[in-house]
């Protein structure tokens, strides 16, 4: 009876330790994943900034000028009224 009790207590203690160890390992994994998530978010934010830089109209205009492109002098306009008259 005494031996069985000691065995039970020992088993319960082992189970408890195992749970605690598993919990700790899980929490460290959560921390690692959270850090990874934060880093990915940071990288994403940096990419968004880079995208905004590349999309900047001022930058595109500067590049176009460097390539020898010029602003269109006049834009030909088509008015809807004559087109409708042809139908």
């Amino acid at each position: 009876m005494a031996a069985a009790s000691i065995g039970l207590v020992f088993t319960l203690a082992l189970l408890y330790l195992s749970q605690i160890t598993s919990l700790s390992a899980g929490d460290y994994e959560v921390q690692r994943l959270q850090a990874e998530r934060d880093e990915l978010r940071r990288q994403n934010a940096l990419l968004e900034v880079q995208l905004a830089r590349l999309d900047s109209p001022a930058r595109i205009e500067t590049l176009a000028t460097r390539l020898g492109l010029v602003r269109v002098a006049s834009v030909p306009l088509l008015f809807p009224a004559p087109l409708q008259a042809k139908k």
Binding site: R53, P57, F79
Partner: protein, 562 residues
Amino acid sequence: MQAVSATRLRVLFVIFALLSTTLAGKMTYWQAIARPELLSLAIDQVRSDLVVAAQRGVIRDRNGAILATTVGLRSLYAIPAQIPKEDRAAVAEKLGVLLGRDPAAIRERLDSGAEWLYLHRRLPEDTAVAIAALHLPGLGFQTEPKRLYPNDTVGAHVLGFVNDEGNGQYGVEGAYDGILRGSPGRLVVERDPANRALPIGLRETQPPLNGADLSLTIDLGIQTACERELRAAMEKEKATGGSIVVLDPRDGAVLALCSAPSFDPSAVAIADLESLRDRAVSWAYEPGSTMKALTVAAAIDQKAVTPTTSYYDVGYAIIGGRRLNNALGKAYGPTTVTQVLERSANAGAVFVAGKLGAEQLYRYINAFGLGRATGVDLAAEATGQVRPLAEWYPVDLGTAAFGQGLSVTPLQLAAAYAAIANGGILYRPYVVASRRDADGEHRTAPVAVRRVISAETAAAMRVMLTSTVDNGIAKNASVPGFSIAGKTGTAQIPDATGSYESDEYVSSFAGFAPAEDPKIVTVIVLERPQSRLLGTLTAMAAFRGFAPDALRYERVQPDRRP
């Protein structure tokens, strides 16, 4: 012998008793009285109490393009003791190449005796990655927030900047600092020797409240076009300052707002202080002849004149015993009120003001919003100056009629012209269209301040100002395919003695398009242009430069055949 032993025993007993009492007392002291202090010292060895910074809100233009955002950049630090002395020269050499700095200066810092020091704050990501790949001993990275402006100097005065302490200053960053910055949180945890939070132990978390994101009324495309034209005008005229304001007359939304000289919000430390001033909002000038449109609008609204009322122009007007001349002393003969605007006749403006009277002119000047802040949601707005009617001399009726003796900001004048453009309602200009926080999106409701003139008067003014561009002094502002309404202005600059500076002017153009159903209102101002009286030509050229872009971005269909 027994007596000696008994004495010794007593002495030993007393010593033992004293020691035991002292020990017990000390134990009681540490266990009961000093326990909190000991506990605190023990906890401090493993506990970290961190302030968790709130993320500053993102600022976007009306189409969602990022104008300002905060990103964590890596700062490089060193623990010199962990870098072997014989390796420090090589480490400094490698870092010098990647950081673009003198290796000797880096070596000096590594040998400074500091236990821990920053070598470079907020590195570009590419540089940080390159340094990390070297796996140098004793170096590490710490992430620090950095406010980034992807469009560099574009919109600098609208946006303002964030200083080293994280406080927003000038522009939207300054006016909305409290909303953008959010509230920091707190994280208290126990940590293991590897600086990881212990899973089972103390953990108190108060999450930060991130700042709200703002969507502006600014259109990045229109803003960029305006800045391009302002820059070109400034270079051509060697002007000391300039500004362009573009409003949507239908609700007062600011579509573009630029000021020169400008600055880089990412590098404010090296900016000239004068360049920080937003000349569209925080600077006032005498409006000159652009004021004539407001004078004529007031007189027509009061039915003191009509567009066809005429007078005989002799080149000057006498008022309050003073002679006020037309520009260059020109005499136009028979002149209608419409032609007063087309020819920008000072004598004609005095004639119109005389029909209106000082009290009514003063009332309309105030109704158009001159002399007081518009209430735009930007930091440091100037009010301009309109002297109280009680302080007016008789001649002031004449000079005020053509924009002398009072001062306005470009934004005030744009709001006043917007009232003419939209049918007579003065709107409060605004820059923030909406803010998004944890509770969702909150849109800004446009504010109609008051009706200034009747819809009929506004319609008549639109026709007259269109004629000023089609047939008059503002002909150079015409844009193929669109009806344009507008008025030029050339104003002298008052000096400290109360008179005007010799041969120095402020040139401007105020107008809107399409004239029949206006979608944009603009005011362009150039301070001290090199071409003096011809500065208005450059101001109109700037309008002609950006107006087609602005109208295209606004999806406005041409209303005239080229």
